[in-house]
Symmetry: C2
Subunit: 118 residues, 2 copies
Amino acid sequence: MFSDSPADMASHEERVKSALVSMPSYEEISTLAARFKAISEPSRLKILLALSCGELCVEHITQAVGGNQSAVSHQLKTLKDNKIVKARRNGKQVMYSVSDEHIMTMISVAKEHLNCDE
Amino acid sequence: MFSDSPADMASHEERVKSALVSMPSYEEISTLAARFKAISEPSRLKILLALSCGELCVEHITQAVGGNQSAVSHQLKTLKDNKIVKARRNGKQVMYSVSDEHIMTMISVAKEHLNCDE
DNA sequence: ATATCTTATGAATTGTTATTCATATGATAA
DNA sequence: TTATCATATGAATAACAATTCATAAGATAT
């Protein structure tokens, strides 16, 4: 007999209940997931990493990540729609930057997590 | 004339350079992206949110997120392969839990980011 | 050993998403 | 206005990933 005692099983049920009551709404989960998805493609993550060094225009982002203008523009749109980056126009150019400190924190925490293993 | 001065353009070039030199390797970017991808599907994110309340066995996870056992098992594999969750066997059951504090931090920062807008 | 409970996996189908190409839009300068 | 530079977008194809179903494997009890 190696499994949990009846008392432990009861606490498991409690945890199922607390997981159920504290579960965010369908909408919140969808939005969160979409935002993680936005930074889950290497091409877009690379853009985000480039922008974590400072504001850049589309052409410079394209240089920094390597690729073509159209692809980068599509990728930036995804990042912007998901509030990962923000944009401001400056003459003919559009300058992109990381949306806020939360995103910066996520990047650095993710990098730390990377160092923990391997 | 509304665009940046020549001096500003020079600093832009500097930022391209610093983005290029500080850019993580292809492998690091791939790993990071894969980890974000693991938590970027609503079904898997939901599992992670459930586990953020405490360790659960597969059956209870299945109850907490709604779905079928096979799907949940596949989803758990993806999460585990990407070090988002960890597993330990307890008799017939396998108990899953959030891999470490980095992941917990990421979840809470992402939730905060959600509160900032909308 | 056999039965039962719990979890994991392979293969196929279905559904999604990324990238490309061509072109459109926005901004400035001449 | 027209030309040019910078960025964005629509549509299509091509690459990828999620879910399902059937079944296998691991663990314990009888």
